[in-house]
Amino acid sequence: MKVHSFLNYNVDIKKQDEAIDDFKQLSIETQKQHLCEILNKNQLYVNLSTIDDEDYQVSEEDKRLTRDFYEIKEEKEIVQTKADL
């Protein structure tokens, strides 16, 4: 989770690690709740702009599907000219 999750900036990793034993004492429900709290809720999904980030290992299939879904095309200039193409 330390590596792959997007944590809130104010989470102190060191203190979290030190408290790992206390953490293990807690009930699974409380553990879940605690872990949810330290996540940055704005970053729960992978942004479209981040699709090519290798950390997320999005498959080619998924990428293609996403691009089709959003109908992403190359940006075009309003007044098209030969040289611009």
């Binding site: 809130n8 900036y9 104010n10 942004n47 702009s49 981040t50 000219t81 030969k82």
Partner: protein
């Protein structure tokens, strides 16, 4: 007292005004927008005005006038100024103009993100916070973080203020809050000023009064006025606007700097019907030429009736009859009788491309059918007696007329009297046909009708942007005669079709010259620049070559680190206050330490817990992974970008603060410091991004004899460049051309060179100084085009017989600063080739450059010159 704009002209010339647009303006405007030099000037002046004190500055509240030609991008200036003033703390903007047409169009440009003419970037951010454009009816609805704009007509504003209603603006709206007033077509609100003969009463409500009344409610208000037409002849106007006109950029400058179409008067002695047909053929020819060159263009013709709508309707009916009954004989007839060169050119084009008259007829009938023509209803939207159906029709018609460039707009021909006035901005109007013959001049002065025609032509002459090479400027004329002879010239021309009536033509010319869109040919002299015969016969002329480099599109393929892009590794300083962390903006580590009691500590980005860095990156829109990937192809992931020493990994932040604070830097401290670092890096990166670049190699190789041919120049009569220098250069063997039509500085350089040339003969032979009239062009690292004024060739007598090709640019002292990059580029060339030669056909060449030649610093130049030939 002088006009404010004149004072600023001087200040600007002497470098008092810094020519810069802040990043937050550029980044938040539409990415299609590239600031033209005069637009940079307008922004710089405004910024200077607000931030500096000087004698002639007005008392608050400030009222400033931008007097800029139609088509020069006034709305873009407005948008930029809104952004600037937002940053200065203004949130409320009131836009007003005299006509509903313009309001609707402006609302679209400011608020419709889907419009092709939308002025802003798709997201507007200040300090990585998103800001919205919000259209409001009154300022009670204003949101304190947004740009709140209220669009209204001056009439509505006036009635709102004088009779209070629900949900409309009231005088209360203007008390105790600072507002930016933006007045478009501002000459309309000067009703009072122009009429006021003596000390006439100001009590009576009038538009101008209304504006003044609300404007005076708060000293921090700012009134920005925009117009293309300011009456500089009117005493009262002059008095009022002397301290207020901040920038004047009139149609003449606009045209001279090639931002407009070229206006041509096409007079012919044909029957009305044949004249109409001739215009249609020319218009169609323009489309076909564009098509041939890969340009998507739908040119439009305007048929203008004199006075009555009935005439205009009759014209339209007649036009349909002509088009339906086209015959090959008619074409043959025009072909034989028309003496107009461009028409003959069109006929040649069609026969060269095997397009027969019958095919051409079919084409015209298709393109100019009834559904592609529109008759303009001349009614006024403001008129209260208008019935509902007419109103809807009018609005639809406005939409069609304002979107003539759009792909799905079929209109090719417009029939009108004179409704197409202010606010009608069309780029693809290429022909205007005048379907009447009256003149209304009095005592040799053009009458009102003729003046109005001239103004219509001025408005219609907006340039249709296109380019076919990457080194061309899309928004400027490229093929002016006589220096160019290109078929594409025709799509840079606006043709005004009239009958041959020399009296009328001379009146119209007078009117056109007055507006600034047209120059009489008599104002110009044609100058011949010819290669001297004796130079032509030399071996050197026939066999020596010229080297140029190329401009290419930057794909950022090789950018594997910040360093490659030219982003210098910069640490930033972050001050930890004993209370909460506060930001200072000192980026330079070398800054002298003023506060000795503070300690400092460097922390590398790689030492900061990565989740904090990720949060900081997520907060800044610029660091979206897709953006990073575009410029830094080798980046694998955000994590890679953070940890890789080529990117953020090796950067560090210097924290300053008390010992206590330094031992315990909090996550929030890190986050705030990172925000600063990322911002600093962002502007570094942006400063180093260029869509194009000039190649390192000079691989375009041309023989001197092919490159430097005879040139014909068209120069204004009173231009210093028109003065010949042939007497001086005619017996100088080393001067290749017969003359020099350069600036006085350039002529002085030739004289200075003449004094040094003797000494050169000691070590060199084949010494030739060649005037470069835009034949040779080179591109710097950022892809900027540079055409040095002179090329000097000399060949070593001894050693390796290396031939030097030296680029020389004389430059008046006042321009030095502005063109600094050119000088740097010249020195860059010298450095790059200092140790190497280019082998070509068993000859050795070396490229070199010298710093600018300036008459005042001639001795320094000579030293540098000798240095360059080492």
């Amino acid at each position: 007292m002088e006009f404010l704009y004149k004072e600023l002209d001087t200040a600007s010339k002497f470098g008092v005004i810094k020519k810069e647009i802040p990043d937050f303006i550029t980044n938040n405007l539409s990415p299609i927008f590239e600031a033209r030099p005069y637009q940079v000037e307008a922004f710089s002046r405004f910024i200077y005005y607000l931030n500096n004190d000087f004698d002639s500055k007005q008392n608050k509240p400030y009222q400033l006038m931008f007097n800029m030609a139609t088509g020069s991008g006034k709305t873009m200036i407005m948008a930029g100024l809104i952004l600037y003033l937002y940053e200065k703390g203004y949130r409320k903007f009131l836009f007003f103009v005299n006509s509903t047409n313009i309001i609707n169009k402006t609302i679209d440009n400011f608020t419709n993100t889907n419009s092709s003419k939308y002025l802003f970037n798709h997201t507007i951010t200040f300090d990585s916070k998103r800001v919205n454009i919000k259209q409001v009816d009154n300022f009670e609805d204003a949101n304190s973080n947004d740009i709140n704009i209220c669009f209204t007509t001056i009439q509505k504003l006036h009635s709102d203020i004088y009779s209070e209603k629900e949900n409309s603006l009231t005088i209360e709206d203007f008390k105790e809050q600072k507002i930016v007033f933006i007045s478009d077509e501002a000459h309309h609100i000067n009703t009072q000023t122009t009429k006021q003969t003596s000390n006439a009463s100001f009590d009576r409500p009038s538009w101008e009064n209304t504006v003044n009344r609300i404007f005076d409610q708060n000293l921090d208000n700012i009134l920005l006025e925009f117009t293309a037409t300011l009456d500089y002849e009117h005493k009262n106007i002059v008095e009022k606007y002397k301290p207020r006109v901040i920038f004047r950029y009139d149609l003449r400058q606009f045209k001279d700097e090639k931002y407009s179409k070229d206006v041509n008067l096409l007079r012919s002695d044909l029957s009305d019907n044949d004249r109409i047909l001739q215009a249609v053929i020319l218009n169609q020819y323009k489309q076909d030429i564009a098509l041939k060159n890969g340009i998507d263009l739908k040119p439009v013709i305007l048929f203008k009736a004199q006075k009555l709508i009935a005439e205009s309707l009759e014209n339209k009916a007649n036009f349909h009859r002509i088009i339906e009954n086209l015959s090959e004989e008619q074409f043959q007839n025009i072909k034989v009788h028309s003496t107009v060169a461009i028409i003959q050119k069109a006929f040649t084009f069609y026969s060269d491309n095997n397009i027969s008259f019958s095919q051409l007829i079919a084409k015209l009938q298709r393109n100019f059918g009834e559904t592609n023509c529109i008759s303009v209803n001349e009614e006024n939207l403001e008129k209260t007696s208008l019935n509902k159906g007419d109103r809807i029709q009018l609005i639809e018609q406005q939409y069609v007329l304002n979107s003539l460039e759009d792909k799905n707009n079929p209109i090719r021909a417009i029939f009108a009297v004179n409704k197409l006035n202010e606010g009608w901005d069309v780029l693809n109007l290429f022909d205007i046909v005048r379907l009447y013959t009256t003149r209304d001049a009095k005592e040799g002065k053009p009458g009102n009708t003729t003046m109005a025609e001239a103004q219509l032509i001025g408005r219609g002459a907006r340039y249709f942007p296109f380019k076919i090479n990457i080194d061309q400027d899309k928004f400027k004329r490229k093929y002016d005669k006589p220096n160019h002879d290109n078929e594409l010239k025709v799509i840079e021309d606006l043709h005004y079709h009239t009958i041959e009536d020399s009296k009328y033509i001379s009146e119209l010319k007078k009117a056109l010259i007055e507006t600034g869109i047209y120059d009489d040919d008599n104002e110009f002299v044609e100058c011949q620049l010819k290669i001297k015969e004796e130079f032509k016969s030399t071996d050197f002329f026939l066999k020596t070559v010229v080297f140029e480099n190329e401009k290419k599109v930057n794909k950022y393929d090789n950018v594997k680190s910040f360093a490659v892009l030219g982003v210098t590794k910069k640490n930033i300083e972050f001050k930890l206050h004993s209370g909460s962390g506060k930001v200072t903006e000192a980026f330079e580590t070398s800054e002298t330490k003023s506060e000795v009691s503070y300690d400092q500590k460097d922390v590398k980005v790689s030492e900061i817990p990565i989740h904090i860095v990720k949060n900081a990156i997520a907060k800044n829109e610029f660091y979206q992974f897709s953006t990073l990937k575009k410029y830094f192809k080798s980046v694998k992931s955000i994590t890679d970008f953070i940890t890789n020493a080529e990117y953020l990994g090796s950067l560090a932040i210097t924290f300053k603060g008390t010992k206590d604070r330094l031992t315990e830097i909090s996550n929030l401290d890190y986050l705030l410091a990172l925000n600063e670092l990322l911002k600093a890096i962002e502007s570094e990166i942006k400063g180093n991004l260029h869509d194009y670049f000039g190649t390192d190699d000079f691989k375009i190789i041309t023989l001197i004899k092919d490159k430097f041919t005879d040139v014909e120049l068209k120069i204004g009569k009173n231009d210093e460049r028109a003065k010949s220098q042939s007497e001086f250069v005619k017996d100088k063997v080393w001067y290749a051309y017969n003359d020099n039509f350069g600036t006085s500085e350039e002529k002085k350089f030739v004289e200075a060179f003449a004094r040094r040339v003797e000494k050169l003969h000691d070590n060199y032979e084949s010494i030739y100084l060649i005037r470069n009239e835009r034949q040779v062009k080179v591109f710097d690292k950022k892809g900027r085009r540079f055409e040095p004024d002179f090329l000097l060739f000399v060949k070593q007598k001894a050693k390796d017989n290396v031939t030097y090709q030296m680029f020389i640019e004389p430059k008046g002292a006042h321009l030095k600063e502005h063109d600094k990059w050119k000088e740097e580029f010249l020195l860059d060339i010298r450095e790059r080739f200092a140790e190497k030669t280019i082998d070509y056909n068993s000859d050795k060449y070396r490229l070199t450059g010298v710093p600018f030649y300036t008459n005042k610093t001639e001795n320094e130049f000579i030293t540098a010159f000798e240095e360059s030939l080492k």
